[in-house]
Symmetry: C2
Subunit: 432 residues, 2 copies
């Protein structure tokens, strides 16, 4: 199978991440695409020290990439409007598919660009333009395609959500957190696009057009920022049972489709209200499915590259026989990975032991654990309930092999001071 | 464009939902597919009173559907193993694509069935087999295709999650909640598949094979149910900062892939710990993207039908020019929907008004609201802070047109007793 040849324009944060990801996971990406995916040409104004461009043609003029007959897919990661638009038009007219992360470009010039693509029989893929690494465009355009979407609401600007989360959790003022966000690199030196909602409005425009089947209409999106939200508002909202989130909301009504970005009080108990920090989430209500939510990192080099490369894989898979996507996702029979027997699984554990209320039982239990090299992280031991002669002992263990904890449990259950079976529940931190 | 002709086998909960959804949203599904999608043949042992089969051929023998030359896609919704397997093989050997919601069939016989499909140049689509209406298979197989998946953890059995949620929130006993779940129709008369984790193990088997690129290996999945979890365990976990969730977990390790279903203590602050009731969620950690989560209804007639019909649309779109999926999701130029001007948007509002600390101010404010037909839902009025001569008044309004509340704010801001600008933040319940 012929390889798919990629040209990348722009080696900033996302461009460098895309190049790195295509190199780092090349073999797996090839197995999932059904053919090799090779970067053959990079267009960037200057060399980037962290990028490995060995064996790749490098041009200072990005338009050289758009005209290169050896490039099948052009990846536009330069950002901005005018040059990016011209670059896309050149690539499309040269018969290349385009992958872009440029939300401003798609929201403002998408209608025109899609038409040019269709006239040339090629595609523009733009999953990375909304909510970074979350495959929300695929979910809306394909996964929920059977539904009339009723509304969607999203936290689609990580900087804004970071600021509001910090204001709430640490009682800090807007200006103070904004300064920190700028220092951390979350917010630009000119934070207008983020805090005044323009970035979110670009993304909402795109989501709404897909959800409701209408042309992109950025200029009709109502946009309000978060710079007027004070610590007082955050506290009063909390008192009333709400969180303040900067949401993009689009709702289908009888009179038309709402398209609005503004700070919003959301009931605290909603999952969306509990999405904090720089993370993004989009909640979608479909007439058949009901509510579904998509959550993850909305920005960052590798997270955005994940969406860019997913689009590349989509294009590489397309037009193969079998509709491109292999049944289990890999075209080469898979990774050869084997299943680990449960005895070899490592996990932390919760143990609830019912013990006679006697002196020294906990010491004996601790000794058994020690003999099996099991570290104890936490213990709860309470007074026996009125009239009871047994007490519950709760232990949390450090991470340990399944076989070891099972052996320890067998020994413990044989102790005369321990009554009945021990309840064991595994624990997972689920934090990466 | 020739219509795509569908044969549905089985008119139970999901079958009836699928037929209804294809009829209810027929026009939109056609616009998204780029061609009409028509149900031409239904196979069911008996008539279903709520199903409109007018104009559709109905057979008592489901194999008549699998052999019908007028059927392009067979939708298998009969469930179970043997007959379903035979039905799929017959359809595949007759050159038909198959869409199925049958997790047990895919987890146990998928390897063999996929091979038969590939030999016949057709596909088996099975999005509905895991997590109902959540497009998790599409997310893993396509949206996250650039990632080496490191681990995934999912609440993939709604009945089990309902039981654990009720035990926690209402201090109820396992057996008591199980009885209610059976009465509500969430749990089968024989609840073994749900509470002993077999259903979750079927789904985990499928997710893990896609995530890690290995054949389906249901027989190697470690499975433990929730019937031994007591109210005491739920309380102790809470005290330690955890929730107990019945999770399917698969993790890539150097020695092999973990494949395990068991109750698990999860830190309360994790989003996954806050997924309650019959809802499902799958958290996936990819090496590039980091954590992403997919949340929604994991069962139910219309939610599952949403996934079944998404697969049908995928198959209908495939092998068209342009790779099938239109740029904005609709092939006919869209729905003709228009954007609603912000003045006509309806919402509830939070108002923070800074007022002089005088008698009668609240009455005047209330009068202005009343003159603009704005109902007040809640008020917070506090003592002025030490040395302050103003007080904050917080009002929550009932739902009202944007133009009305803006007029009211203008009038209020002109009142001599009101100091400076009023902060207005919209409110959304986001509950359907």
């Amino acid at each position: 199978m012929k390889p798919v040849r990629i040209g990348i324009c722009g080696l900033g944060t996302v461009g460098a991440g895309t190049l790195k990801l295509l190199q780092m996971n090349a073999k797996m990406i090839g197995a999932r695409s059904g053919k090799a995916v090779e970067v053959v040409h990079v267009g960037a104004r200057r060399d980037m020290p962290d990028c490995n461009t060995q064996g790749i043609k490098v041009s200072r003029d990005i338009f050289d990439v758009a005209r290169d007959p050896d490039v099948d897919i052009l990846v536009e990661l330069i950002g901005g409007y005018d040059t990016a638009k011209e670059l896309l038009i050149t690539a499309l007219n040269n018969g290349k598919h385009v992958v872009t992360a440029n939300k401003a470009l798609i929201a403002v010039h998408g209608n025109e660009l899609f038409e040019i693509a269709e006239n040339n029989g090629v595609r523009i893929a733009y999953e990375a333009s909304v909510a970074g690494g979350i495959p929300i465009i695929k979910a809306l355009r394909e996964g929920l395609a059977a539904n009339r979407i009723q509304w969607l609401a999203g936290i689609i600007n990580g900087t804004g959500n970071f600021i509001l989360s910090e204001m709430k959790d640490k009682n800090r003022a807007f200006a103070d957190v904004l300064q920190e966000a700028q220092d951390l690199g979350y917010a630009e030196a000119d934070p207008t696009f983020d805090v005044e909602g323009i970035d979110a409005a670009h993304k909402l425009t795109i989501l709404a057009s897909i959800a409701f089947g209408m042309p992109l209409q950025f200029e009709k999106t109502y946009t309000e920022g978060i710079s007027h939200i004070t610590q007082e508002d955050v506290q009063f909202a909390e008192e009333l049972g709400y969180c303040i989130k900067h949401l993009g909301i689009s709702r289908n009504t009888e009179k038309g489709v709402e398209l609005r970005v503004h700070p919003t009080l959301v009931p605290k108990k909603r999952l969306l209200a509990n999405v904090n920090g720089v993370l993004n989430a989009v909640l979608v209500e479909g007439d058949a499915v009901g509510p579904t939510m998509y959550y993850g990192p909305g920005a960052g080099s590798m997270a955005t590259a994940s969406a860019v490369v997913a689009d590349i894989i989509d294009l590489a898979r397309a037009n193969d026989g079998m509709n491109g996507v292999p049944h289990l996702g890999f075209s080469d029979g898979g990774s050869g990975k084997i299943v680990l027997p449960i005895d070899d699984v490592m996990s932390c554990n919760y143990l609830r032991i019912t013990a006679e209320d006697k002196v020294g039982v906990m010491a004996k239990v601790a000794q058994v654990m020690s003999q099996h090299s099991i570290n104890i992280e936490a213990i709860i031991q309470k007074e026996p309930a009125e009239g009871e002669e047994t007490v519950p002992l709760i232990l949390l263990t450090h991470i340990i092999r399944e076989a070891e904890i099972n052996n320890a449990i067998t020994v413990l259950e044989a102790m005369p001071e321990i009554v009945g079976k021990i309840t064991r529940i595994r624990m997972e931190q689920l934090d990466g």
